[in-house]
């Protein structure tokens, strides 16, 4: 009786790892979705650029290294600013900080948003009332204004601080989305069964609810990532970016401040502007692609 195939204990693998078939199916559609592939390709390309690019720059991106106002050439690939700073160096460092702020700001927003959403949706009752009220209050706050005021008061600003502030103001829509999904999932009998199995609340949330909305969570995190990048670019552009740092938004701000447009230094403002636009739009394209992969109704036949 002990040698029954597939009996618990017969294989050493963790029995909670399941869904191989579903995973294979998702992969099948993922590899055939051009939106997903293009979006992911561009995002990954920029990610690698931000990761590796700065390693090949042997000077500080803000250092005055070359002749002033040079158009792109063999030595300075993207030209120089009117002070003689290397724009390629600034660009790769800027891409790096863009991803940093995206991961960090988006990550904080994701953590807060999903935590609030899961707890509110699962617990219900007064907990839900309180958290929902909090969510709605933060949702209607003019986030940009709050960020401007809050960040303007800080002396030393870094990417981390900026990320935390962005994260703490952009989570509400994620919380609402996760809450509504949780509300519908929490009424399933298997959630009750997990409670009857003596599972803790957080275990139920992480192992019963979250895996059932994993696609939803992935897409939420991508949108939060893109949102954080855009918000950071906005803050940088109005001069509230990281002090002594480099970012794409900061490059734009400098370009505007030193009249790059009037002087015809197009290589100063086009790369950062295009960089932000391309990164964020490929994130959105990636998101649409993922949606089509996860949601059978949207698949193109």
């Amino acid at each position: 009786m002990t040698n029954v195939a597939g009996a618990p204990g017969a294989d050493k693998a963790e029995p909670t790892v399941g869904g191989e078939r579903r995973f294979a199916e998702t992969l099948h559609f993922a590899r055939r979705n051009p939106k997903l592939l293009i979006g992911l390709g561009i995002v990954l390309g920029f990610f690698l650029l931000g990761l590796i690019g700065p390693l090949f720059v042997d000077h500080d991106p803000n250092e005055y290294v070359g002749p002033q106002s040079q158009p792109p050439n063999g030595e300075f690939w993207l030209g120089t600013t009117s002070f003689g700073q290397d724009i390629w160096a600034q660009f790769v460092y800027g891409v790096r900080s863009t991803f940093l702020i995206g991961f960090f700001g988006g990550g904080v927003a994701f953590l807060v948003g999903t935590a609030v959403g899961f707890v509110a949706g699962y617990k219900g009752g007064w907990v839900d009332d309180v958290l929902n009220m909090l969510t709605n209050v933060v949702l209607v706050l003019p986030a940009m204004v709050v960020l401007i005021v809050a960040i303007a008061y800080l002396d030393a600003r870094g990417v981390l601080i900026q990320g935390i502030f962005i994260g703490l103001t952009t989570w509400p829509w994620a919380a609402r989305a996760v809450r509504s999904q949780t509300l519908s999932l929490a009424t399933r009998d298997y959630v009750d069964l997990a409670r009857l199995s003596g599972r803790r609340t957080w275990r139920i949330i992480t192992s019963e609810l979250a895996p059932n909305m994993s696609s939803y969570l992935v897409m939420t995190s991508i949108l939060l990532f893109g949102g954080a990048v855009l918000t950071a670019a906005g803050l940088d552009f109005i001069g509230l970016g990281p002090t002594n740092g480099v970012s794409l938004g900061l490059m734009l701000e400098n370009a505007v401040q030193w009249s790059a447009l009037q002087l015809g230094l197009w290589w100063w403002f086009i790369p950062p502007g295009l960089g932000i636009t391309v990164i964020v739009s490929s994130l959105y394209i990636l998101n649409v692609g993922l949606d089509e992969v996860f949601n059978p109704k949207l698949r193109e036949l």
Binding site: M1, G6, P8, D189, Y190, R195
Partner: protein, 309 residues
């Protein structure tokens, strides 16, 4: 009837839901219900949809709170069982099986994960070997072939198999009370009788079973005590045989007359009922605005409740 240990006691239990915007409205789903479940006894809660029978099951399992009154398990008020550890201990002895077996399994995991969850929570020190023995013997009790059900996804199994797996899961624990919420309704006729007989086996092992059903004949088949619920209140309660042979409450009579008979047509049933009208019983009444539901003992152990129309 032998007097055995009282396991579960419902004492003037109410459940009131807030409804509408801002929770202004009130809906009394369960109204002043008293009943006891003893060891080795099957108590059927019979009622139509919305009569509060599943809510009672949920309250016993602590899945929803009790608005008024007490549910006592071995003398302890269930609502005082607070904190994770205490609840976990409670579930070691009180378990439930739900109506829809397909919704009881998380679709993205294999079905036997329900056993593994029990092991992780209640027997983390048991060796894999020992646990496998336990699972296999439990599956044997519910007459499932382990080779057919283990290592499969829920969608690969039938409703009857899943339902019996849930019962097997409950048996892994040291249970004393089993709340069986409509466990038969999703099964086809041939598996139905298997599961019913399984319940009888469990009863003989000394379990107290709260059997929630809308099906009168099933209630009649397995239970010792029947409780007929109408609009959240007890309409009639007593030994199953008495309740079915001599229904006293107009609602129970109506319910019983609705059961299709194999050997009689509706017209014959109606004619027979008209020929021998049942003797009327004085039903207890409650003053307007009160939400109690007193019971009247019409004969030994056989109670009738208020009439709500």
């Amino acid at each position: 009837m032998t007097v055995s240990e009282t396991l579960l006691e419902l004492d003037h239990v109410h459940k009131v839901y807030r409804t509408g915007a801002f929770g202004g409205g009130r809906k009394r789903a369960v109204r002043d219900v008293n009943l006891t479940v003893r060891a080795g006894e099957v108590v059927s809660l019979i009622g139509e949809s919305g009569s509060g029978k599943s809510t009672i099951g949920k309250m016993v399992l602590g899945l929803t709170s009790v608005s008024e009154g007490q549910i006592r398990y071995e003398g302890t008020d269930v609502s005082t069982i607070k904190g994770f550890k205490a609840r976990k201990e409670y579930y070691r002895h009180v378990q439930g099986v739900f109506q829809d077996p397909f919704s009881c399994f998380n679709p993205i995991f294999k079905a036997d994960r329900v056993f593994e969850m029990v092991r992780q929570s209640y027997a983390p020190d048991t060796s894999q070997e020992e646990w496998r023995e336990k699972v296999l013997s439990s599956l044997d009790t519910v007459r499932l072939d382990p080779g057919n059900v283990l290592n499969k996804y829920p969608h690969q199994l039938s409703g009857g198999q899943l339902q019996r797996m849930l019962i097997a899961r409950a048996l892994l624990l040291d249970i004393k009370v089993l709340v069986a919420d409509e466990i038969i309704s999703m099964l086809d006729a041939s598996t139905r009788i298997d599961v019913l007989n399984l319940l009888v086996d469990l009863k003989e092992r000394g379990l107290g079973i709260l059997f929630v059903t809308h099906d009168l004949s099933l209630g009649n088949y397995v239970s010792d005590t029947s409780v007929i619920l109408h609009k959240g209140a007890v309409a009639e309660m007593g030994p199953t045989q008495r309740v079915f042979e001599n229904p006293l409450h107009p609602y129970s009579r109506h319910l019983l007359s609705c059961v299709p008979q194999l050997h009689q047509t509706w017209a014959e049933v109606d004619a027979e009922l008209a020929a021998n009208p049942p003797e009327d019983v004085t039903l207890p009444t409650v003053p307007e605005g009160e939400y109690t539901a007193p019971l009247l003992e019409a004969e030994a152990g056989h109670f009738v409740g208020i009439d709500q129309t």
